[in-house]
């Protein structure tokens, strides 16, 4: 029997987003990468090219039925430091990518991972952290939102006052929850605040938001966020804030979000991405979005890993 009477405000809804099989990140540009100008970019894309080819070949081998859908993306930092202008920098990035035989389909600004089109994405993701409970957790709520740190286990007991030190309590090690015999304990700073309470999100936290966006798992009140907008190279703004948070540079590109992501990054990003995985492993993503992806991958007979963090992969290339 179906319901005759419906109230839309009383029904949950989740907007579906178009999905590729793979989102391949071709780089993550910080000011220091431009220290020696165009040459640094050229070197980067030359190193990325073989791995991009490998990712494409791997995808083709693993896609069952139909054409493999893959989009590429590139992230420019405009959050921690502002440098150059979109009008100056973007043509340079695209030229050097093209020179290496790469096409950048989408370009995003790092600050879009904090706030995109007035939607506070980072704040929303912070509200979705569900800490991994250490054994013995029977329902007490961990105060993640107060501390601004997220660990992959239990911290060492807090340091004692000098008076208490007299009793010479032995040092207790931290421990990784679910460690394989020995711990690799990581404690990630998610944000800090200035004396007026203005919050600055950490690089790993914004990178985690970036991964969730690429995985098509972010929604705001059920609606898609970070919708790509077209931009033509001739009309790029001179202010970063005037550039849409996510720009589609290739009109023929496959969808931005994908079932899985792969990022080709210099090896120095390894610790940041380890932190990203600690965050993703403890983020309760939108249930409706997860269910939509499960249905689609089932229909396409694409095997999908159970957890979100397993949908994320990397290539770390050595420098220089």
């Amino acid at each position: 029997m179906t319901d005759v009477f419906r109230e839309t405000a009383a029904q949950p809804r989740t907007e579906a987003v178009p999905l590729s099989h793979l989102s391949l990140e071709l780089g993550h540009l910080y000011m220091e990468d431009l220290a020696d100008g165009r040459k640094g970019l050229r070197r980067h894309f030359e190193r990325v090219r073989p791995w991009a080819d490998a990712a494409r070949a791997d995808l083709a081998a693993r896609t069952t039925g139909g054409r493999p859908r893959m989009s590429t993306c590139f992230l420019v930092d405009d959050y921690f430091s502002r440098f150059s202008t979109p009008a100056d920098l973007l043509p340079l990035v695209l030229e050097e990518a093209e020179r290496a035989g790469l096409v950048i389909d989408y370009l995003a600004r790092e600050s879009a991972c904090a706030v995109a089109d007035k939607v506070p994405l980072a704040q929303a993701v912070a509200g979705r952290l569900v800490e991994s409970p250490p054994p013995g957790s029977y329902g007490a709520r961990p105060p993640v939102s107060e501390s601004g740190w997220l660990a992959n286990g239990q911290r060492s007991p807090a340091g004692r006052s000098p008076q208490a030190m007299r009793r010479a309590e032995p040092w207790q090690p931290p421990s990784e929850t679910n460690a394989r015999r020995h711990s690799v304990f990581v404690d990630v700073e998610l944000w800090d605040e200035d004396k007026d309470g203005n919050r600055t999100w950490s690089c790993p936290f914004l990178a985690a938001v970036w991964q969730l966006a690429r995985l098509g798992l972010l929604r705001n009140e059920g609606e898609a966020v970070l919708r790509p907008r077209d931009a033509s190279l001739g009309e790029l703004p001179v202010e970063w804030d005037e550039l849409p948070p996510l720009v589609r540079l290739n009109a023929d590109a496959d969808p931005f979000s994908a079932y899985r992501t792969c990022s080709v990054l210099p090896a120095r990003f390894l610790s940041v991405e380890h932190a990203v995985r600690v965050i993703l492993d403890q983020t309760d993503v939108d249930t409706g979005a997860v269910a939509q992806i499960s249905r689609r991958t089932d229909n396409e007979r694409q095997p999908m890993p159970g957890s979100v963090v397993e949908r994320v992969s990397y290539v770390f290339y050595p420098e220089p």
């Binding site: 109230e7 704040q123 329902g139 492993d281 269910a291 979100v308």
Partner: protein, 327 residues
């Protein structure tokens, strides 16, 4: 919400509901209620206005890794998340509800946390689950260190009742009630059934149910929230009127009756919403002990009493209870 396809069939679902009056002089309208229950910045609060005003928060999760209470002392460790949500009915009655479901069997060791997060509201046992003993164990309440659904439900309720939107002036004196429930699978082909509904000490109620395979735990939780709300209404009105329906006259009689009339009498509306099949279980409680029968009787007595007070010669001017005054 659809569960991930690889989730094994549920053999046990349990929950606990906390019910209390909203500590606010005026009931909240739908906008204020939606603001109160915005437990997650990026998820919509659901607002239903027919057949009464009912506002439901987004679901949040609490991670646990502990022993499940069992009636026979069997040691079962479970890992996963308990779902928690809050609801406000007619801007007046606040509830928080924690619940989970569990499959018959789980892996021998704990999996990475992301595995559990993608199965919200599922607790996986390490090894086999003795589901009947666990159902009894949860209803009876655990020992220290064992899963504490009440603590999880309180974790959501406590910050809500202290919310700055609320002036902390409850219109009547009442207690928080707790309702624990456990649902085991019904035999194939059988419909849902209530096996036991117990009024225990300390405002604790326990409900043991049988539900057809595939019944969503959220739907069972909704049914039990409906039971809890109406049980709270009965409990509260019975207590308000306890000893006050006798031949007392004048201000005392009015003071006793007024909060019930102004704030509670319009709230009775069993099976206002929820799963159609499960809603039929109300018939069981209506038959025995007869929830609505008792409510109708209380309402009738209040109305008769008011009519009588009205008909009596006027007493010295009765001061109506000031709004917000505890009675």
């Amino acid at each position: 919400m659809t569960a991930p396809p690889d989730t094994a069939p549920t053999v046990l679902a349990c929950g606990e509901v906390r019910t209390c009056v909203l500590p606010s002089r005026r009931p909240l309208d739908s906008d204020a209620a939606a603001q109160l229950l915005q437990l997650r910045a990026d998820e919509r609060v659901l607002v239903s206005k027919r057949p009464n005003l009912y506002v439901l928060s987004p679901q949040t999760l609490t991670g646990v890794d502990c022993r499940l209470p069992t009636a026979n002392g069997a040691k079962v460790r479970v890992v996963g998340t308990v779902a928690v949500r809050a609801a406000l009915t007619e801007g007046r009655i606040l509830q928080s509800s924690a619940y989970f479901r569990t499959p018959a069997q789980g892996p021998d060791r704990r999996r990475p946390w992301g595995h559990y997060l993608i199965r919200p509201g599922v607790l996986e046992p390490l090894g086999r689950l003795p589901e009947s003993a666990a159902a009894q164990g949860v209803l009876a309440g655990g020992r220290p260190g064992e899963l504490d659904l009440g603590l999880i439900a309180d974790g959501v309720l406590t910050p809500l009742v202290r919310h700055p939107l609320l002036d902390q002036r409850a219109p009547l004196k009442s207690r928080h009630t707790r309702l624990r429930w456990a649902a085991l699978p019904a035999d194939p082909g059988q419909g849902p059934a209530i096996e036991e509904f117990t009024l225990a000490e300390d405002d604790l109620r326990t409900v043991r149910l049988r539900v057809p395979a595939g019944t969503e735990p959220a739907a069972i939780a909704a049914l039990c929230e409906d039971f809890a709300l109406h049980d709270w209404l009965l409990t509260t009105v019975v207590r308000l009127l306890d000893g006050r329906l006798g031949p007392v006259e004048g201000p005392d009689a009015l003071t006793a009756l007024r909060p019930a009339v102004e704030h509670l009498m319009h709230l009775w509306m069993p099976r206002a919403r929820g799963d159609r099949t499960l809603r039929a279980l109300w018939d069981v409680l209506e038959h025995d002990p007869g929830f609505t029968r008792q409510w109708d009787n209380l309402v009738q007595r209040v109305r008769d009493r008011l009519a009588l007070l009205n008909a009596l010669p006027k007493q010295p001017v009765a001061q109506p209870a000031r709004a917000g005054e505890k009675t």
